[in-house]
Amino acid sequence: MLENYLPILIFLAIGLAVGGGAMAAGFLLGPHRPDAEKNSPYECGFEAFEDARMKFDVRYYLVAILFIIFDLEIAFLFPWAVVLGEIGMFGFLAMVLFLGILVVGFIYEWKKGALEWE
């Protein structure tokens, strides 16, 4: 089974070599004369107005967590789709119940207004 994944390993190695090689070549071959002005941060030629880091609205995490939950739900669908022919009606109904429970949660969050971006 593992021999099927050999192309991916080769791909990883080539990707690392090309990515790392380009950066190493730029570092080794390029001119390297930094000074204080070159290294200072700026926005459109001005001094930076404020820090890029700031307080975040907690609603961002709500959208993020809801996304991850449904992402996990999708992960359960893949093996189910692969073996659907073998597990028959029982497996089908198991997934229907699984999705039914999650649809309850989906209706809850929809009605609660968690999906609305004000």
Partner: protein
């Protein structure tokens, strides 16, 4: 078998290095990148164990979704490193205590008979057409259907908990209600007023 072993040692070495960098990096953004590297390498190790579906799920869910969200939050959040380091001496005993507890627990589990190499015997490589996903699916939805449905309930629990913790309505913000926009009629918006023209005398 030799090449397998080489790949294992490369993945394991990078994994240990990345995990160490996660906790020693000064910059939290770099720490998150090292955590992504650690996940990718553990996915490689799982693949060597022929757990291909779990390896792909690790990359898809953790690297693809969870870590990207982590990264956005860590990049944007204002983290005052000096302030976080202030309580170091006060919290060190608690941290060290919990660390030792974790190490002891891990040692007990890893050295227990359930994880002993004799229990598994020699790993026999599966043929090229073996599908780990198929093997997983054929038991997950039949034999372990109860655990599967419990997983659904836990996911719903996570939905409800996330909403209960973070959702609060702001009465002042304005947003569009498409249903109202569509159903509005001319009479609701436009009022024609008859104004008698004045006669200039």
């Amino acid at each position: 078998m030799g090449f397998d072993k080489l790949v294992f040692y490369v993945f394991a070495a990078v994994l240990v290095f990345a995990a160490l960098r996660v906790i020693t990096c000064r910059n939290p953004v770099h720490a998150v990148f090292y955590l992504v590297l650690a996940f990718l390498n553990s996915a490689g190790l799982w693949l060597l164990l022929e757990a291909e579906f779990l390896a792909m799920t690790l990359v898809l869910v953790y690297v693809g979704a969870v870590m990207v969200l982590f990264l956005f939050v860590v990049m944007m959040l204002d983290i005052n490193v000096a302030e976080m380091r202030a309580g170091m001496r006060r919290f060190a005993p608690v941290g060290v205590g919990i660390g030792i507890l974790l190490v002891v627990e891990m040692a007990l589990i890893v050295r227990s008979s359930a994880f002993s190499p004799e229990k598994f015997g020699n790993l026999v490589r599966s043929p090229a057409d073996y599908s780990n996903t198929k093997a997983l699916g054929s038991v997950l939805y039949t034999e372990h259907v109860y655990a599967f449905e419990i997983a659904a309930v836990i996911l719903v629990l996570a939905i409800i908990a996330a909403i209960a913790l973070t959702l609060r309505k702001r009465p002042k913000t304005r947003y569009q209600d498409p249903a109202r926009q569509v159903s509005v009629r001319r009479e609701d918006r436009v009022r024609l007023v008859d104004v008698p023209s004045e006669k200039r005398g």
